[in-house]
Amino acid sequence: MKKGKNVTVFLMGVLLSGLLALQSCGGGKPKEPTDESGSSFPRTKTLYLAGSQWGDPNTFNPLAESWQAAWPVGDRFNLMYEPLLAYNSLDGKIEPVLGTLVSKDNDSIVVDLNPEAKWSDGTPVTSADVKFIFELGRRFKNAATAFTVEFITGINVAKVDVNGVSVERLSFIVDKKGRNNPLVILDHLQAVRIVPAHVFEKLLSENNNDLSAVQKLKIDDNPVVSGPYNLETYSNEKIVVKRRDDYWGAKAIYGGKLPGPQYIIHPIFKSNDHFAIALQKGNLDASQTFIPRIWLKKKDGVSTWKADAPYYVPGSIPMLLINTTKAPLNDKNFRRALAAAINYANIKELAVSGYSPDIQPGLIMQSGIEGKYFSADDAKTYGVTYNLENAKKMLADAGYRSVFKSDGSLDYMTDKAGNKLPTLSIKSPAGWSDWEAMVSIAVKGMRDAGIDVREGFVDAGLYWPALPSGDFDLIMHKPAAAVTPSLPWSRFESIMSSRNWVPVGGDNKMNENQGRYNQPGTKEYNKAVDSLLKVIPILSDDAQLTEAYRQLNKIFMQDQPALPLCHLAEQYYEFSNANWKNWPDETNPYAPPLLPWIGASTKILWQLQPAK
């Protein structure tokens, strides 16, 4: 009797809350879906993917900073606004999108614009659009794409005849007096998305040529795009894009075919463990999140690129940057001892669920595209591997001495002169559990070797500012996180370049080499590092290139300005065949292991088939 009452009351509660929830949507922006089925997105036509958008979608403005714009406009996603080229991180090839790469040399990079390319309002994509976005940084210093300006002096346009069709040929002229770096221009050509100049010129003139005012617009109402999908609707819980059946590339690139899924829905989760649950339940078709112990999910239909460890394709290197201006971290022998004290096998097994190969010393991965620059001999000769005894010996040889408490635990360390050294701290954002685990394992090993170091987990609000200002002893960082044509050069550049070297202190900030390695003007300054970093982007001979990378990697291993910890995937990539099948994997590697809106992986959308 009473139980029955409870149930009634409960149902009333549910009803009431439903009503309230309903009210909440009154002020929203829902657009009635145009789908024939009426109120929802049929599962057989809809692809559910997640992991690229974490917070509320705030703007869909392609001129906004990339961290501000929501999926699929921000970052380097190319579903709505397309880049000229796409990079295939599996084979290193440049694939055509809005343009086709014709040639690349030290003077210019030449791209033919696809004459078929059209905006969703019917107007063709022209060189004016390309020029608009690449030259925006010259007109407005605060433009999001302003970083391209120091690399490109200008874009020359010529009309040429290709197989009887007149096409616009764009030559991106390398700024030889500036950065002189065609490699990075190639990065930009696959990262900068082309936007419709006619739309944004109009918006600029309506806003008194004030870019900040235009950046404030959300551009979320039927935007003019060139890509295969366009924004359908969004809320704080999800973003929905709909296939454009008049997408120009269907005919021009994909032989008349349209992508499989009519809709792509990107749900926004608030907790990391929800991705795994959603994948297992078939509510999510693919994800790019860290899911621990992925092998346990196999029985629920969750797959990865490789069927066995390390499951993913390595692409980025989380590491500890070392503040090389502070004693004893300014002593390379001390830094090398640190490298010898870290149990890399434990990091691989415990911190990242085995998602890393056994790493080799140095900054070059032993496999993949950059594997050709790796030298096992060099790694053996110059590199330091985990060896506690060796670490202790290196410290003793360099004059460091550990002092222990009566209970046998480490008290402190003294330097050559017998002075007590301060306790070192490894900064890492609190709550990033895989990084926290890496730091804990590193601290453990270093203390075992007699080095007085502690975990320094701080809130992200303190971590981010500490990085450029050099306010750390050691700090967790993942430089050059995206796999682009300029790897591994960009990784070396972001750790070893003294181009913008400024000392720690005041408002001084460095956005690369935050550890202040290789200070110019001192007697220890190693000129070779900066000249190698300058010359590699303009080397085209493979033998010379390999030699240059070997030199650079040798210096890295000898000087150890940072401590690479493991080799992780650029982005994690998990998928389920429950609703959509034919995902690329190691046995069927038709596209790189990324969600189908990054680089050359967009073509996955054309290969997917409904499972039922």
């Binding site: 795994a276 621990p292 097994e349």
Partner: protein, 277 residues
Amino acid sequence: MKILKNLLKSPMFVTGLVLFLATIILALIGPYVHTITMERVGPQYAPPAAQYLLGTDDLGRDYVSLLIRGLRSSLYVGFLAGIIATTVGTLLGIYGGFKGGWIDDLINMITNLFIVIPSFVILILISSSLKDGRSLTLIGLIIGMTTWTWSARAVRAQSAALKSKDHISLAKINGDGTLAVIVKHILPYLASYVFMVFILQVASGILSEAAISMIGLGPLDTVSLGTILNQAKNNGALGDGVWWAFIPSTVIITVIVFALYLINTSAEGAFNPRLRK
């Protein structure tokens, strides 16, 4: 004495006391019975076995060691927060309730201010200004500093009711100062009540620490029951059926809080004869 005798006759009180003493004893003598080690002793999330009775965590550490450490931390936070919240709350509550007038209003205003400023703001703000970040002690302090409002409200109501009692009016006529009246005549009357407030604040402090840690704002310098749960959540332990990452710490939290609640309610019965059967 009579009250204690009565209490010891109550099965609820005895159960609560025994459970609570058991956790205290576990925290105190645990390290002498079981070798506490923060080293890796096995693989990640190894199930319970002879060499690690409650399995291992994501870093392969022995859960028994972690739980003993965590229990000590949680008790420490609970008592620290409880003492602060009870002291501050009782003093302000008695004073406000007894004095009345604008002092009462002012204290009420301060109480409201502390309810209105989110405790996260204070927590993140203070931990960002300290070199060592968020310590266990800091978390205890902040829990105490944000939960005293409840004790203040509860005690104030009691002390306001006492004010009009005859013997207090008499004391006032005799010329005793406010402080003297409070110490001599009000505090003794409220002692049992304040004791019960304290017990509830300790329980609430332990739960709050776990909740704060779950959000990812837990102590960074040590293991607590909350950080154990948070690590398990971040590592997706539940989804993989790793129950030993969750259940033991949950059981310990529940047992402490339950024991404190039992002590509180049975004490309430003893102090207030009407509640006795």
